[in-house]
């Protein structure tokens, strides 16, 4: 039983990691209906920025963290301006390919600049564990769980309670109508890319003590976070986190109870089954096109 609880908790911690990255996917999708395959790579780049600020320049952890978030937000706007804006309104697959290309580019540039070694950031959460009875939880994992909950709540409120959030949802449903209603669609898209890059950076920095930073970390985690977003229904913020936690728990349970090899595949098997039964994901809304 204790094994089970320990696996459950570490699965949830892992799942929050996926959820945190999936949040970025969902943000961009929710606001612009663009699927950003480079999300994981934005996270990787954020981690490298933070490493440069904290590890190389020797800034305080929190200042370096904030600096990386701001720098990546600007970078997100730049990426949107250069790669995404010219092809807004084209079929989704063009945009998927463009972001895959962007991901390739970022990965190899990061590899050239920062090398291919695993890098590490010293964080206030690096050491220490929390003990509840005989349960053991490392602080770095707790920090991820806390950050996921906080960010998820903030973004949920942002999308549902603020004018800007509503504007984003409107422009995702119908860009032209949103534009006629006086919403500056271009700026909205730009802002959402900034937010999503900032969220990705937060994920990257929080993950640094757990996964380390190297140029392919974004690809590896992005490919796990992506099913998480799909499982939750691509447009739903709580869905992303629930999907992430589900994937994390499935992975951790499969690794413990099933024969070797299932750990990596189990999330995808579950994902395929969910898509079979509920093609729009657990929390997605289903709508039919009217002719």
């Amino acid at each position: 039983m204790l094994d089970f609880v320990q696996q459950l908790v570490s699965g949830i911690a892992l799942g929050c990691v996926y959820g945190l990255i999936a949040l970025g996917f969902v943000l961009v999708y929710k606001a612009t209906e663009v699927v950003n395959f480079a999300q994981g790579d934005l996270m990787m780049l954020g981690g490298f920025f933070a490493f440069t600020f904290i590890g190389v320049l020797g800034l305080n952890y929190w200042i370096g963290f904030a600096g990386a978030v701001v720098a990546m937000a600007l970078f997100g706007m730049l990426a949107e301006r250069v790669v995404v804006r010219p092809i807004l309104g084209y079929p989704q697959f063009s945009i998927i390919m463009a972001t895959i290309g962007l991901g390739y580019f970022l990965r190899s540039i990061a590899g050239i600049i920062w090398g291919t070694d695993d890098l590490k950031i010293e964080t206030p959460f690096s050491q220490g564990v929390l003990r509840i009875g005989s349960l053991v939880l490392a602080y770095d994992k707790l920090s991820v769980i806390a950050a996921t909950i906080i960010l998820c709540a903030m973004l949920y409120l942002f999308f549902n309670r603020t004018t800007l959030g509503t504007a984003m949802r409107a422009s995702s449903e119908n860009m032209l109508a949103a534009y006629y209603m006086g919403i500056p669609v271009k700026r909205v898209v730009s802002i959402v890319w900034a937010i999503s890059a900032a969220v990705a950076t937060a994920a990257g920095v929080l993950l640094a003590p757990i996964t380390f930073i190297h140029s392919t970390v974004g690809l590896v985690l992005g490919l796990k976070a992506f099913p998480a977003a799909v499982l939750g229904g691509f447009g739903s913020i709580p869905g992303a986190v629930v999907g992430g936690v589900l994937i994390g728990v499935i992975e951790s349970m499969a690794g413990f109870y099933l024969p070797q090899g299932w750990k990596d595949v189990a999330p995808y098997v579950v994902l395929l089954m969910v898509l079979l039964l509920k093609p729009e994901g657990l929390f997605g809304h289903h709508a039919r096109k009217k002719v």
Partner: protein
């Protein structure tokens, strides 16, 4: 200037709209037939890879380009074809038999993937195909009694009619050429048939196709099966060409390369698959060239513009360091994909058509002929 008056539907679906086509493709085919005897063995080997990639490209094009169903899982179909061949070969099954079995089996798996894919759209379909490819990759690595797991499988040289066809021989080259040619001709014929028209109708509007009486589910599954079967055939050739296969060859990276093939070539015509395949196969030799020769050339240019010997040497070493940087290939891939999506979504073949039309209509060419329509109104979620 040639005017083509079409008075009949038969005119519209001719394989060779006019005599010029027969001449051009005849010349091309003649060149390809003599190629293995005049080109260096390295180039011939590259050409074989071009044929294999182009075959996969045509297969993927039927699904993605003509039926509009995105797939990032084609490496898995290739793997199934390759492993079927390698497995059956152990039991001395003759080549024609395992070639066909590989195609049929891959086609059957493709149809099985097609059924769940019926209800999925856009991004959900992409992730479903990625998941499928991951699962296949893991099965290949774990089902050791059949696939030898991560150790991989050795593929013996091809035996046909009692002779051994080595992977570098002209006969193997002609085999690949024949498979590609048959695939292309078959695909063109398929597109002229009611099935092909149904595919295109589904791509353009599923709702409209359904209203016209097209059985959308049936044709989607058919499209998956045909596309997978072609990829399976290519897989057999791929296994023979490499003579060794292991699960880590058939990763997401390879699936993305196949998508790049049709993206860069142009996803609306088999020409595109061939051009894209040439691009993908040639990028590695090109990078090697970049590494070896270009730094010296740049230094020479710098020297002619008055740079001292020391400066020139410094420039040479800097450029060399940049060109041989680990992962430069990824950056070039990335930039090329983005540039094509942004500026030439119709691919290399689309560019060729534009240039051709420019000269045909000179001076009346207008850019709007090829302009894509942007759609800001509809959301792909609601369909």
């Amino acid at each position: 200037m040639r005017f083509m008056f079409k008075t009949d539907y038969e005119d519209d679906i001719k394989l060779f709209p006019h005599g010029g086509y027969i001449v051009t493709y005849g010349v091309l085919l003649a060149f390809l037939v003599v190629a293995p005897f005049i080109l260096s063995s390295y180039l011939v080997s590259q050409l074989v890879f071009v044929f294999i990639y182009a075959t996969v490209g045509v297969g993927l094009m039927i699904l993605t380009g003509f039926t509009g169903q995105a797939s990032l899982g084609h490496a898995a179909f290739l793997a199934i074809g390759a492993y079927t061949a390698a497995y059956l070969q152990q039991y001395n099954v003759p080549f024609p038999v395992y070639f066909l079995v590989a195609g049929v089996l891959t086609g059957a798996v493709g149809a099985m993937v097609g059924f769940p894919a019926l209800r999925l759209q856009g991004i959900y379909l992409v992730i479903a195909t990625i998941s499928f490819a991951f699962i296949i990759e893991e099965i290949l690595a774990r089902w050791e009694s059949v696939t030898h797991g991560n150790e991989g499988m050795r593929v013996k040289a091809l035996q046909f009619l009692g002779t051994t066809v080595s992977r570098d021989s002209p006969s193997f080259y002609f085999l690949c050429l024949a498979v590609l040619t048959l695939t292309i001709v078959g695909t063109l014929n398929l597109l002229r048939s009611p099935t092909g028209r149904a595919f295109v109708a589904i791509r353009d509007s599923e709702t409209a196709a359904r209203s016209m009486g097209v059985n959308v589910s049936l044709y989607k599954v058919k499209s998956f099966a045909i596309s997978a079967a072609i990829t399976g055939f290519a897989g057999v050739l791929f296994a023979h060409k490499l003579s060794f296969i292991s699960p880590e060859m058939f990763t997401l990276q390879l699936s993305i390369e196949f998508i790049i093939v049709i993206l860069i070539g142009g996803a609306f015509s088999p020409h595109g698959a061939v051009l894209g395949a040439i691009f993908i196969v040639m990028i590695d030799p090109f990078l090697t060239y970049l590494k070896d020769d270009v730094p010296g050339m740049i230094a020479a240019v710098a020297a002619t513009f008055g740079a001292g010997a020391a400066t020139a040497a410094k420039i040479q070493s800097n450029v060399a360091a940049f060109a041989s940087a680990n992962g430069l290939k990824g950056a070039i891939y990335g930039v090329i994909i983005v540039l094509f999506v942004l500026f030439e979504p119709l691919g290399l073949y689309g560019r060729w058509l534009k240039i051709k039309l420019f000269f045909q209509l000179f001076p009346l060419y207008k850019r709007a002929t090829f302009k894509r329509q942007k759609i800001y109104v509809k959301s792909e979620r609601n369909r």
